[in-house]
């Protein structure tokens, strides 16, 4: 076959055209790149105008209100918006108005996020905010009802089910794995949209921002966390493995004593289990979760309720999970799995509640690297711009 494309076939769904993605079955071509997504046909459902009152028991900040109406205006005028907002600045709140407007117009609204944990959490939140409307969630293993709802919260993977469907599609964490640089998901995203979209990110790359500005997007920025407290600057501890582990134990025990909950991030599933096995003899009342752990929702729930003092986790809890007064330790922050976006995201777990805005972030590493220094300087920069705004 060689390198020259002799097949001249482009997948109508994901747009693959390279030879390596194309298979031949019974003398006709088919796309192998997106084949495992396409079990079923795409869906269609008629919606009609409904009122959608918003129930929240707190006031939005001035910035939030301003952006909220700006996004709504953009949507009315048919302009796509990219929201660049730091962690904890209340991104979810600023899209409520536009969702309300779209439901009122009888349009189809979707909210897509990469991870299923976050889908479940956000869906619960939207259910309590839009009490009068039906909010449904769609993710792997939970897809019996994919259309019968006013607001559909779904994982980005599940977008493949919809073709030319959403009038308003909001996508959160666009810089997150697994959406980042994934052509297949990108193709599904564009395929699912009929109307306009709002993209949100805490840490968009400069190229991405430039690209969206070029495409005629309105890029809006929300820098302050909604309680106006700066993001805690991570403390970096560099030491060898033994001392690092000692540090981990002593820090965890100190936080436990101060009645603060701790999240310990570990790079891989194996290291997560291993760290917990070693820790459980020295620090009491903890647990661990990773993507393969059974009963994960219960453990996370227990942690949220404060029944567990510390939790050892992989990147599954990196995004979206909000716990009051939590401290964060990244164990082996030098691991190549963490780029500076991920490190900033994890740091953003801290101080997300109004009545407990302070917290500590500790990076434990055997050596420092570019990603660590970059993440720290970026957080400092964001905090400085926050000071200026105040």
């Amino acid at each position: 076959m060689g390198n020259i494309s002799i097949k001249q076939y482009t997948c109508p769904i994901c747009g693959a055209s390279k030879d390596k993605y194309i298979g031949i079955r019974n003398n006709h071509y088919y796309c192998r790149r997106c084949i495992s997504f396409r079990g079923e046909e795409s869906v269609e459902q008629v919606t009609y105008p409904k009122s959608a009152p918003i129930y929240i028991d707190y006031e939005l900040s001035e910035d939030q209100k301003k952006l909220s109406s700006q996004i709504l205006e953009n949507y009315k005028n048919g302009i796509n918006t990219l929201v660049h907002a730091v962690c904890g600045s209340g991104k979810t709140e600023i899209v409520l108005e536009v969702i309300k407007y779209a439901i009122k117009c009888g349009e189809k609204v979707g909210f897509a996020i990469p991870r299923r944990d976050v889908v479940i959490e956000i869906c619960e939140r939207f259910t309590s905010i839009f009490k009068r409307n039906s909010v449904i969630s769609v993710y792997g293993g939970h897809n019996e009802n994919t259309v019968n709802g006013d607001l559909i919260v779904l994982t980005t993977h599940q977008l493949y089910r919809y073709y030319h469907y959403f009038d308003l599609l909001i996508m959160d964490e666009i810089d997150a794995f697994p959406f980042k640089n994934n052509e297949v998901l990108d193709a599904f995203f564009h395929r699912a949209i009929k109307g306009h979209y709002v993209l949100m990110s805490a840490t968009p790359s400069i190229e991405l921002l430039e690209l969206f500005k070029e495409k005629g997007f309105d890029v809006v920025e929300l820098f302050s966390r909604f309680h106006k407290h700066p993001l805690p600057v991570p403390k970096l501890v560099v030491a060898n493995n033994i001392i690092l582990f000692y540090k981990l134990i002593s820090l965890t025990n100190r936080y436990i004593k101060e009645k603060k909950q701790v999240m310990v991030f570990s790079p891989t599933i194996e290291s997560c289990e291993e760290t917990y096995l070693k820790m459980k003899y020295l620090c009491h009342g903890g647990d661990y979760v990773h993507s393969k752990r059974e009963g994960r929702p219960t453990i996370i729930d227990n942690f949220r309720k404060g029944k567990i003092t510390y939790i050892v986790t992989t990147a599954v809890l990196e995004r979206g999970v909000t716990v009051k007064n939590v401290q964060v330790i990244i164990y082996h922050a030098e691991n190549s799995i963490y780029d500076h976006h991920a490190l900033i995201q994890i740091s953003g777990r801290v101080g997300r509640k109004k009545d407990a805005p302070e917290g500590e972030v500790i990076f434990l590493a055997t050596k420092s690297n570019d990603e660590i220094t970059k993440s720290i300087s970026e957080i400092k920069r964001a905090n400085a711009s926050l000071q200026n705004m105040l």
């Binding site: 390596k20 298979g23 031949i24 790149r33 495992s36 396409r38 079990g39």
Partner: protein
């Protein structure tokens, strides 16, 4: 350089495995995710061999191949052990377990035949189901009922030949048991069983 059929990444023929087997179409990284355990056991006193564990990796691959109609994955299960299998089953004819006609037409290929094709042995497609009856839809306790529906079309073909019954996954072995009963009536020289994977009951 060739491109892996599973992860689409290029890979080199560097390991001995790849030099011996020139047809290899998946990279070693993807292959390492499978668990080839070579289960040797007996079903009604007939020696059987299953190559892989029926684990999540295998399940996902089989689903993509059989359920999503990805014919290009046909040979990946056998190719690594082709020399060995050709040696052990030299002179046998292959009798695939029947699958539903409707599915085969929709899929445009038969997945059992497709995955054992590279063994270069003759196929005897003589088993069929009298009704549309899916074994995978039945609970384990009901699976012995398959014997009512399993039929053989041309029993004379079997006489004095070495028969190798092939299937993708063996769970309770009910289908194979009824197939053995049917084939034995035709006086074959001997019977053996080869399947891609085996479900383990703990």
């Amino acid at each position: 350089m060739r491109v892996c059929k599973i992860c689409f990444k290029s890979f080199k023929l560097d390991s001995l495995r790849n030099i011996v087997y020139k047809r290899i179409s998946i990279c070693h990284r993807c292959f390492d995710k499978l668990t080839p355990n070579f289960y040797k056991y007996k079903i009604d006193n007939i020696p059987a061999l299953s190559l892989y564990d029926y684990d999540d990796t295998f399940k996902a691959l089989l689903y993509q191949f059989k359920g999503c109609y990805d014919i290009e994955l046909g040979q990946i299960f056998i190719e690594q052990y082709l020399l060995y299998l050709r040696f052990v089953y030299h002179g046998y004819v292959l009798v695939p377990m029947p699958s539903s006609k409707e599915d085969d037409i929709k899929r445009e290929f038969n997945h059992v035949i497709e995955s054992f094709k590279i063994m270069n042995l003759e196929f005897l497609n003589i088993l069929y189901k009298s009704e549309r009856y899916k074994q995978s839809d039945q609970p384990h306790s009901e699976r012995h009922k398959i014997s009512k529906y399993l039929k053989v079309s041309d029993l004379k073909e079997v006489r004095n030949r070495k028969i190798l019954l092939i299937d993708d996954v063996v769970t309770t072995g009910s289908t194979l048991k009824s197939a053995i009963k049917l084939i034995k009536k035709g006086n074959p020289k001997c019977i053996k069983i080869l399947t891609l994977a085996k479900v383990n009951h703990h």
